[in-house]
């Protein structure tokens, strides 16, 4: 074998470097940090909120509807990118073609919009009744 790395060699070096990088980080942290665990610390971090329930909850179905519409406009870029690379030499012809393409997609968006598929209907909140709510009253008074 000659001096240059084969394809697998490159992958291997990447692999080793990746492992070293991550493992090194953990190792240094472990050596430096004091170890004083408590239940608060061990709980899952959820943006500072106390974690409620299991992570395997069913998401609200409306998220999927928005995701559906998002997908279409997400992959649109796949066609716009090649167009953008050859836009200059192709000139106005390509511009018109892409405008037709984007126009059809926009029509789809308008359709979804007018038909009300983009409306985010808030569910009627089901707040459990509490015996007294001093905080809430204060909040209202303040504004």
């Amino acid at each position: 074998m000659d001096q240059t790395l084969s394809g697998f060699g490159t992958v291997f070096v990447f692999l080793v470097l990746g492992i070293v990088f991550v493992a090194g980080g953990y190792l240094t942290a472990r050596m430096l940090r004091p170890s004083r665990p408590n239940p608060e610390k061990n709980s899952t971090y959820e943006c500072g909120e106390p974690a409620v329930g299991s992570a395997w909850v069913k998401f609200n179905i409306r998220f999927y509807v928005v995701a559906l519409i998002f997908i279409i406009f997400d992959v649109e870029v796949v066609f716009l990118y090649p167009w953008a690379t050859v836009f200059k030499p192709l000139g106005p012809f390509a511009l018109v073609e892409v405008l037709i393409f984007a126009g059809i997609l926009a029509l789809g968006l308008i359709y979804a919009w007018v038909k009300g598929d983009l409306d985010w209907v808030r569910p009627t909140p089901n707040i459990p009744k509490m015996p007294e709510m001093p905080n809430r009253r204060i909040g209202k008074a303040n504004g």
């Binding site: 030499p89 192709l90 029509l107 359709y111």
Partner: protein, 511 residues
């Protein structure tokens, strides 16, 4: 790897694209119609179903003019070999527009869809999108274009099948159609990728040239052909890719069932013919031995299995839509017989058979809808005594069913006769297939005739009802379809001639 083309090259690319658009007018026109329908649905109010239906029919009839203008154009391939304009494609363009118009006529009378609460706007737009997709399936000469066209048809069809959102049967049918469809289109794509790997080409004619010049690995070839067959067989509804069809046909709204059973099936056949006749033709001297077993044998087995399975299982069906689903599997088998012959006579007979299938199958479903509107069900038992209550519909359904069996003096008889004579003109090689075909036709006589038997010879449980009126328009459509089925059964020469004229595929050498 990729070099920016020079200015002159770009100018030539643009001029090729512009020139190609001239051969692409019907498709562009129908795509515009699709968008017009969506916009109209947005600007008109809730109760716009009839208006949209009228616009759809007018638009589809208008497209016939552009297709007619294409008849004067020479056979050609354009858009860098992506797409072909030939007589074969033009025949199918007429066919698909006709099937679209008939599907609208079926939709207008269907009570189930009439009650659909969230409007019919998408429905007609999807219907037109499917017409475009089917046209492109029949005319594409490139693997990429074939795949895209097929997906356009599939995606519209999934949505149309599940159009009755509140009806669990419709939703279930859509799910089943989707699952089978997605898997089989994935298999088709994998087959395409193998074919592309063997030839480094995506154009069908060039694939054939590379295969002929450089040879190929028979094992990879048979893998690719099997995978592609899976995708196409799904569209055609042939055994063993038929699992979806009984459930989907039963659950889908009846007009959609009719549309799928005629339109998308015919599109599958058109694509199959173009693919197998052009890309992997057999019968040329240089590769008789490997290719001879290859796909012809596969098609023969699929055809025999479809005829036997479809006709035998149909015997036990109690639901008329399900019965027609199994019969449509059987018809896929008969149609394949015409393709197996690989000659112009066979192609002509397939086209004639499809034309007859268009009339008789839409006719049968039309009457099924009329009856379902009255009785609220498609069960065979509920057809009792209907012959007296709905005289015209009963007579028409009998004619359509006789035609589906393939008895004279109907159009269906002509179709079957031409297919069998094309098959037998090839000598004794296909004798066993012809025998299976004729024997299973006899079986089909039994289950088709159960319907008229129930209608005329058995008494209804509710005899007090008098004659049921179906409305003037419905009567007119029923009568027209019935008369056409009978008329072409006697005077079939013009259609046969046109089919013969149309059995010319771009890049295919049929003897």
């Amino acid at each position: 790897m990729f070099e920016m083309p020079s200015g002159a090259e770009i100018q030539s690319i643009i001029s090729i694209l512009k020139g190609g658009a001239g051969f692409f007018v019907p498709e562009i026109y129908l795509s515009a119609l699709f968008m017009v329908l969506i916009i109209l649905d947005l600007v008109t109010g809730r109760k716009n179903a009839r208006f949209l239906a009228a616009v759809t029919i007018a638009g589809l009839v208008g497209s016939l003019y552009y297709i007619f203008k294409q008849q004067a154009m020479p056979d050609t391939e354009f858009f860098f070999g992506m797409y072909a304009l030939d007589r074969f494609g033009i025949f199918f363009k007429y066919f698909f527009v006709a099937s679209g118009i008939l599907a609208v006529l079926l939709t207008v009378i269907d009570d189930q869809l009439k009650k659909h609460e969230s409007g019919m706007g998408e429905y007609y737009a999807l219907l037109v999108a499917m017409v475009v997709g089917m046209m492109m399936m029949a005319s594409s000469t490139d693997l990429l274009m074939m795949f895209l066209a097929m997906e356009l048809v599939s995606l519209s069809a999934y949505a149309m099948t599940g159009y009755l959102k509140r009806d669990p049967r419709s939703s279930e049918a859509a799910l089943k159609y989707l699952v089978y469809g997605a898997v089989s289109s994935g298999m088709l794509l994998y087959g395409f990728s193998l074919l592309y790997g063997m030839t480094a080409q995506t154009n069908l004619t060039r694939i054939a040239m590379v295969l002929a010049a450089h040879g190929y690995d028979p094992l990879v070839m048979i893998m690719a052909v099997l995978l592609i067959m899976a995708g196409l067989g799904y569209k055609m509804g042939a055994v063993p890719f038929h699992f979806w069809s009984p459930d989907v046909y039963e659950g889908a709204p009846t007009p959609v069932t009719a549309y799928l059973s005629v339109g998308s099936k015919a599109a599958g056949f058109a694509m199959l013919m173009r693919f197998f006749f052009v890309a992997v033709p057999h019968g040329m001297d240089m590769y008789v031995s490997p290719l001879h077993i290859d796909w012809l044998m596969i098609l023969m087995l699929v055809s025999a299995a479809s005829m036997i399975y479809g006709n035998v299982v149909a015997i036990w069906q109690k639901n008329v839509k399900r019965l027609l689903a199994y019969s449509s599997i059987a018809h896929a088998g008969y149609l394949l017989l015409g393709i197996i012959t690989m000659d112009q006579l066979g192609t002509q007979s397939v086209l004639v058979y499809l034309a007859s299938y268009l009339l008789m199958n839409y006719g049968a479903f039309y009457v099924v809808i009329l009856i379902a509107n009255r009785t609220g069900s498609e069960n065979l038992d509920d057809y009792r005594g209907l012959g007296k209550k709905m005289p015209l519909a009963g007579a028409a359904l009998t004619v359509f069913l006789i035609s589906l069996v393939g008895l004279p003096p109907t159009f269906g008889f002509i179709g079957k006769l031409m297919i069998f004579s094309a098959l037998l003109s090839k000598g004794s090689l296909f004798m066993w297939l012809a025998l299976i075909g004729i024997l299973t036709s006899v079986i089909s006589l039994y289950y088709y005739m159960l319907i008229p038997l129930n209608m005329y010879l058995r008494e209804s449980e509710r005899p007090e009802e008098g004659v049921v009126e179906t409305g003037m328009g419905a009567k007119l459509v029923t009568a027209t379809l019935m008369i056409l089925t009978l008329y072409f059964g006697l005077f079939f020469q013009p259609i046969a001639n046109y089919a013969k004229y149309s059995s010319v595929l771009f890049g295919a050498f049929l003897n």
